[in-house]
């Protein structure tokens, strides 16, 4: 071989080795993926958790735990739950009991299996839970958790919620679980319109306020520590503040006039509300403690129901009657750049999605006596003004509110005969009634 060619070959080999060494030095993995590779939901199997102790309380707690976990995962909207009738026979309490072929092939054909055991000893409940990727036999474990709480039905529910949230966080691509979130609403079941709260699945309904007058439009702060509401206090409609930490109302300035529909900014430092302290209702903002009051709108006609864009914190959507029937408008948080986003009909109750991309609102598109259609929930892409109807001709649907995960919606509907609280996924599916007692309205989905 020619000596020059030999030299070039040697040089090339050295260069390749150097490149390989450099690639090794940058400790970083690569993924290549793309769209069009299937958007199927994860097929998740959840065999019942197995009692790990002979304690008589364990049976009740296991049942509560299993029901709660199954309900949470089914409600999440990101799983295709494998029916329990397809499961292999046996009890699955530990990783050694999982046979990959039996779970990963038909009939269950599951992609993931969540399993574990629950034991009670010494007044404590101990739960071990795993999530296995049964299609990946080399490193199947996605999640392994252990919980230790005081033995009670409520603890079993909370542990199930937490385990469900962990699964949803991992398989949902960082999706925050809502199993521990709470929904605030107005209920008449005590005789007056008071603020109540409940778990996201309708359990643990509790009365918060005892004004014995009227309390409306609760709105939970982003950290879940406080709930702003509007109530008749000293003869006027005022913004009131309820502390979840203290379980009572805390002081908040009185602005004068009628003050309604408070809404927190995304960072929890500001409030927006409508006030008629200077005549017609206009949009005002103030700090979380009630200071730095600032008027944003000054146009003839009422402006009410402000909501912040939680993502940017610099936009506010509101309802205005400046052109006649109420319509949804969007403006910057300093009152400038006002834009109308609905073009016709009767549009109220805006709610901004956590990612700032969508607006929910209640819309009577054809308003007037004998007009077709009803009062339904719509979702609109704020940038393009494209909208989709989520509820269809099922009487009056109003006051939609986003869940913190951006996938669920709570709203009020009278389709069951009286006004009740309902939830659904953001595509309008899985509609589910949460309340049945009294009339319940104006829900707001809080984080905690």
């Amino acid at each position: 071989m020619h000596p020059t060619i030999k030299m070039i070959r040697r040089f090339a080999i050295v260069a390749v080795l150097l490149l390989m060494a450099a690639a090794t030095a940058t400790a970083q993995d690569w993924i290549r993926t793309g769209t069009g590779l299937g958007m199927e939901k994860v097929r998740l199997a959840v065999p019942d958790f197995v009692p790990a102790s002979a304690d008589p309380q364990a049976g009740e707690l296991v049942k509560t735990f299993n029901d709660t976990l199954w309900g949470d995962l089914q409600q999440a909207g990101i799983f295709d739950m494998v029916s329990k009738s397809f499961y292999p026979i046996g009890s699955f309490s530990a990783p050694a009991t999982i046979k990959f072929d039996a779970w990963g092939s038909p009939p269950p054909n599951a992609g993931m299996v969540a399993f574990g055991n629950l034991g009670v000893s010494g007044g404590r409940v101990l739960v071990q839970g795993w999530l296995f990727d049964v299609k990946n036999q080399q490193s199947p474990q996605v999640l392994g958790k252990q919980y230790n709480e005081t033995a009670s039905v409520q603890s079993a529910r909370i542990i199930a919620h937490r385990f469900a949230d962990e699964i949803i966080l991992r398989l949902g691509g960082g999706l925050p679980g809502i199993a521990e979130s709470r929904i605030y609403f107005v209920s008449t079941r005590s005789g007056n319109k008071e603020i109540w709260s409940m778990d996201y699945d309708g359990a643990n309904q509790q009365q918060l306020t005892h004004l014995r007058s009227i309390a409306l439009s609760p709105h939970a702060s982003p950290d879940g520590s406080r709930v702003a509401l509007a109530g008749i206090f000293h003869g006027n409609w005022n913004i009131l503040m309820y502390s979840n930490d203290l379980n009572r109302l805390v002081s908040f300035p009185v602005f004068g006039g009628g003050n309604l529909s408070p809404a927190w900014s995304g960072d929890g430092t500001k409030l927006a509300f409508s006030s008629s302290r200077a005549g017609a209702p206009e949009i005002y903002t103030c700090d979380a403690n009630g200071g730095s009051l600032k008027r944003l709108t000054a146009v003839k006609g009422p402006d009410v129901s402000p909501v912040w864009n939680p993502k940017t914190g610099v936009q506010i959507a509101f309802v205005s009657g400046r052109t006649g029937l109420p319509q949804i408008y969007v403006m910057d948080s300093d009152g400038s750049n006002v834009q109308r986003v609905t073009d016709t009909g009767y549009a109220v109750s805006p709610s901004w999605s956590p990612n700032g991309q969508f607006l929910l609102f209640s819309w009577i598109r054809h308003y007037g006596p004998g007009a077709p259609g009803g009062d339904d929930i719509y979702i609109m892409d704020v940038a393009s003004h494209k909208w989709v109807q989520l509820t269809h001709d099922s009487r009056r649907n109003d006051f939609p509110s986003w869940a913190p995960d951006g996938r669920h919606i709570v709203f009020q509907s009278n389709r069951s005969g009286s006004e009740q609280i309902w939830t659904m996924l953001a595509d309008g599916s899985q509609q589910r009634q949460l309340t049945t007692s009294g009339t319940n309205s104006q829900p707001n989905w809080g984080s905690h």
């Binding site: 690639a23 090794t24 030095a25 940058t26 400790a27 970083q28 993995d29 690569w30 993924i31 290549r32 993926t33 793309g34 769209t35 069009g36 590779l37 299937g38 958007m39 994860v42 990101i78 993931m112 990727d133 299609k135 990946n136 080399q138 490193s139 996605v142 966080l169 991992r170 398989l171 949902g172 691509g173 960082g174 999706l175 990612n355 991309q357 892409d381 393009s384 494209k386």
Partner: protein
Amino acid sequence: MAANADIFEEREAWRRPLTISAVLHVALFGSIFFYAAFFAGRSGGSWGNSGDDTGNAMSATLVTTVPLPANPQAKPENVLANESKGVTQSVPKPEEKDKTAIPIPDRNAKTKIKPSKQPPVTPTHEQPREVAKVSNVVPFGQGGPVSGPYGTFSAAGAKGGFGFNGAGGDFGTRFGWYVDAVRRKVSENWMKYEIDPSLSTTRRVYIYFEITRPGAPANIRIEQSSGIPSLDQSALRALQRIDTFGPLPPEYSGNRVAVEFWFDPPVRGQ
């Protein structure tokens, strides 16, 4: 001078022959005209006329209207196929006689052919040459950019959704569920109505980004444009909408994962 004058003064009798000539000419033209007017159209047939007077006659095509090139233009010489014999000469391959062939008796078929004393030769067939398997063969339409670090990619898993390479190199196999979650999340946030609806060809845009330890996307950029601005922008926005993919698995030792994500837009009519 007087004689010359006499010559010119002599006058011949031109009047009579001229008159006769004129009459004969008039008679001749008159007879021709008369014949043409009364007899010419009544004998013979019209060429091209099939007897039907409604107009099926062929019309003779004038030569000038035939689309022939008036002047043959000089064409540029084809450098690959011209009449030049070139500098090399191709020699026909000499016919090789098959040594194993049995000669055909041409003169006397009754003559027995003596068997060859050579030992029988086992026919040797050329074995199919084994093609070296190249690990970096990319299926059609799924290749990445030709330059950059993608050359070191193992695209064997590209069809299944992802390929990977790197120091640890096993992120995709160990944490397939995480890769699936990334794919689902990006696909959910890709608003296809942002793409030009008149798009009628399949184009693909490649987006590069990294996932940090807490799960946030970083360093988002277009790795290879599709050539369609609306498609490129919709793909970029899909990534920009995402706050987090969820924290990287705790079992993973690296600090970040690089992702190449491709977007295949829906084509109108499909």
